[in-house]
């Protein structure tokens, strides 16, 4: 098991290097020169040239890449060409906690809603409620979340005046963004849970449990659910990726100053250093979550897997 954990963690290294290379090249190919932005609109070519030299933009690409990597490893992702603030400070002092909080709430919503819907649906297979819930799940899966966010605002904030339109921090400000973020994940988890539970319920050991005289509740909650939930762990990990980009939309619509909004602001302001930093941090986060999920899956699944 330890070997597996170490190997899985080592696997992330080439992926992270690749990610950093892609991010670096992406920024390098981007039109608009960071030196010009740094030097200011009024700068003449000579000043820009000095800036380029200072920023190392005249060095060979490979040299620039290694400089980027070695600085990133020491926790230096450069400074924003717009605000002049350190990228690391901007992300971790101001933005990260908010997006992390949002993502955790979104995941919780997705898991709780998804599990309840999936379990109810599977236990009442082919009933009216099952069909209805699966239809709801299909809708949740298909609804564009930017539209959902605005519909929620129109209904609960504009029409009913129950909840604030924008912002983050107060409890009532968190409800709509969390819902927006959690719904598509809930739909996916609901469908997955239902399918897995139905699959498990047709297994031989469920028949054994029934033959022992176990009641339906024990059959489902003690014997079936535990086995059905193992594959759902993987989905939760993958959903986290959707959540991170969902945060871009959610934060944009609800004007929440998290990492998602930072990415969008940086793109519109062509703040290349900031884009580079945030995209890198978000991707590293995603790679890390996936590694953790894989390891958890393996730990939980050990008993089943070995035969």
């Amino acid at each position: 098991m330890l070997i597996f954990i170490v190997r899985r963690l080592l696997q992330t290294i080439p992926v992270l290097l690749g990610v950093s290379l892609v991010v670096f090249l992406m920024i390098h190919l981007m039109p608009g020169c960071p030196a010009r932005a740094m030097a200011g609109e009024a700068a003449d070519p000579a000043q820009i040239e000095i800036m380029r030299e200072q920023m190392g933009l005249n060095d060979p690409v490979l040299v620039q890449y290694f400089r980027f990597i070695s600085r990133a490893l020491t926790g230096d992702l450069g400074t924003s060409v717009v605000s002049g603030r350190s990228v690391v400070d901007e992300i971790f002092e101001a933005r990260f906690a908010i997006t992390f909080h949002l993502a955790i709430l979104g995941t919780l919503t997705a898991v709780v809603l998804g599990l309840i819907i999936g379990i109810v649906s599977a236990t009442m297979k082919d009933s009216f409620l099952d069909v209805l819930l699966m239809l709801v799940a299909l809708f949740g899966l298909s609804i564009p979340n930017f539209w959902l966010a605005i519909l929620l605002i129109i209904e609960f904030s504009v029409n009913r005046g129950l909840l604030p339109i924008v912002g983050w921090g107060e409890l009532n400000q968190m409800i709509l963004p969390t819902l927006t973020l959690g719904i598509s994940g809930a739909a996916i988890i609901a469908r997955m849970t239902r399918a897995n539970l139905l699959d498990v319920l047709s297994q031989d050991y469920i028949r054994t449990a029934r033959a022992k005289g176990a009641g339906e509740l024990i059959v489902i909650y003690k014997h079936a659910l535990r086995n059905a939930l193992i594959p759902v762990i993987t989905v939760v990990g993958l959903q986290f990726g959707g959540l991170l980009t969902g945060a871009i939309i959610t934060e944009t619509v609800f004007a929440i100053n998290g990492m998602g909004r930072l990415i969008m602001q940086s793109i519109t302001q062509r703040d290349v250093i900031m884009i580079q930093g945030t995209v890198l941090v978000v991707s590293i986060l995603f790679v890390a979550v996936n590694a953790i999920v894989d390891i958890t899956y393996r730990l939980v699944n050990k008993r089943v897997d070995l035969n």
Partner: protein
């Protein structure tokens, strides 16, 4: 009748059908048999003969399938199980009637320790706390011949071999001293050497407890080893019923003869002597009008194609479903069963 007191299970005209998109599938079609205390009855047949569905019907374990009991009675100690509520059935299952399944590899829950899987039944049916139920579970494990039962009880199914798992299944089944034990192909999935051990364990347990045993199998060898009486099933119907000794001595139904002749034995070890029943089991959706076995029967006459023979009581409790026995009552000659390539 005083004999009635000892009857544990009496199945009367049981009919179980599956309802699929392609129509009704009569898996068990008018099956009757009974079994007394201390007796062991074998039900033998090919796959698809309805033998397993019969056993699942008795325990009403058709949940999650399209199968339904559509007729007949299942009298257990005189009470009709088909009229029981689900709740009442739960108090019977694993307690007074238990079942051992074919696939020990998949019949145990992979995420629960085997000790808990046994203790769970005990707690479910007897008023015992966790600790004493666990102790009982360990005792059951040692009772079915599992070494180091304390250690094994804490393990998960994947840590046990197939034979060990089947022993665990047996321990689960007998943990509440059931009056009726149904074993559905308990050895089919196991290695030959393990098969003999498991069979003798089941036999030993049945002798010790004095309960009734229904042994479901496709293997007449298993029947010979473990049973007193035997019912032969074909396409959802019983075609012959006899004591084991009589069945092996003088089979009356051509199908039984075919089955017996297709067992490889030590005396007839040349390949030519191994017989094969020609043709295939008919599709359950398109059963023949007459005798179900007629299309494959070397003795079939015109009447066999047109009318379904009744289950005829020859004498005592010696039953056979065959026109030949009904109309002529004479011994059929065995040598009509030739291997298809043998002539």
């Amino acid at each position: 009748m005083e004999k009635d007191k000892d009857i544990v299970l009496q199945v009367e005209n049981l009919q179980t059908s599956f309802f699929t998109e392609d129509g009704e599938l009569k898996a068990v079609n008018d099956v009757s048999f009974s079994i007394e205390k201390g007796q062991s009855l074998g039900i033998v047949g090919e796959s698809g003969s309805g033998k397993s569905i019969t056993s699942l019907s008795i325990l009403r374990l058709l949940t999650g399938t399209t199968g339904k009991i559509i007729g007949g009675k299942i009298l257990f100690k005189g009470e009709d199980l088909t009229t029981f509520s689900e709740k009442k059935m739960q108090s019977i299952r694993g307690n007074r009637i238990s079942m051992i399944f074919q696939e020990p590899m998949t019949s145990l829950n992979p995420t629960i320790t085997i000790g808990e899987q046994i203790a769970e039944v005990i707690r479910g049916h007897q008023k015992k706390d966790r600790k004493s139920a666990w102790e009982d579970a360990v005792k059951m494990l040692s009772g079915v011949g599992i070494p180091e039962p304390e250690k094994r009880a804490k393990q998960y199914p994947f840590q046990l071999s197939g034979g060990m798992r089947q022993r665990v299944m047996i321990a689960i089944a007998i943990s509440c001293q059931p009056e009726l034990l149904i074993a559905d192909e308990p050895t089919t999935a196991l290695d030959v050497t393990i098969q003999a051990q498991i069979l003798s364990l089941i036999k030993k347990i049945q002798r010790r407890s004095g309960g009734a045993l229904v042994m479901i199998t496709h293997d007449l060898g298993v029947i010979a080893e473990t049973c007193d009486a035997v019912a032969v099933m074909y396409c959802g119907k019983i075609v012959e019923y006899a004591s084991v000794a009589e069945l092996f001595e003088s089979p009356k139904h051509p199908y039984t003869m075919g089955l017996l002749n297709s067992i490889p034995s030590h005396e007839t070890d040349s390949e030519e002597d191994l017989y094969i029943i020609d043709g295939q089991v008919p599709s359950p959706y398109e059963l023949p009008n007459g005798c179900l076995f007629a299309p494959r029967c070397p003795y079939a006459k015109e009447i066999c194609q047109n009318a379904l023979p009744e289950l005829l009581n020859l004498y005592g409790n010696r039953l056979v479903r065959c026109h030949m026995q009904q109309t002529e009552g004479r011994e059929l000659e065995h040598d009509r069963w030739k291997s298809p390539s043998g002539s």
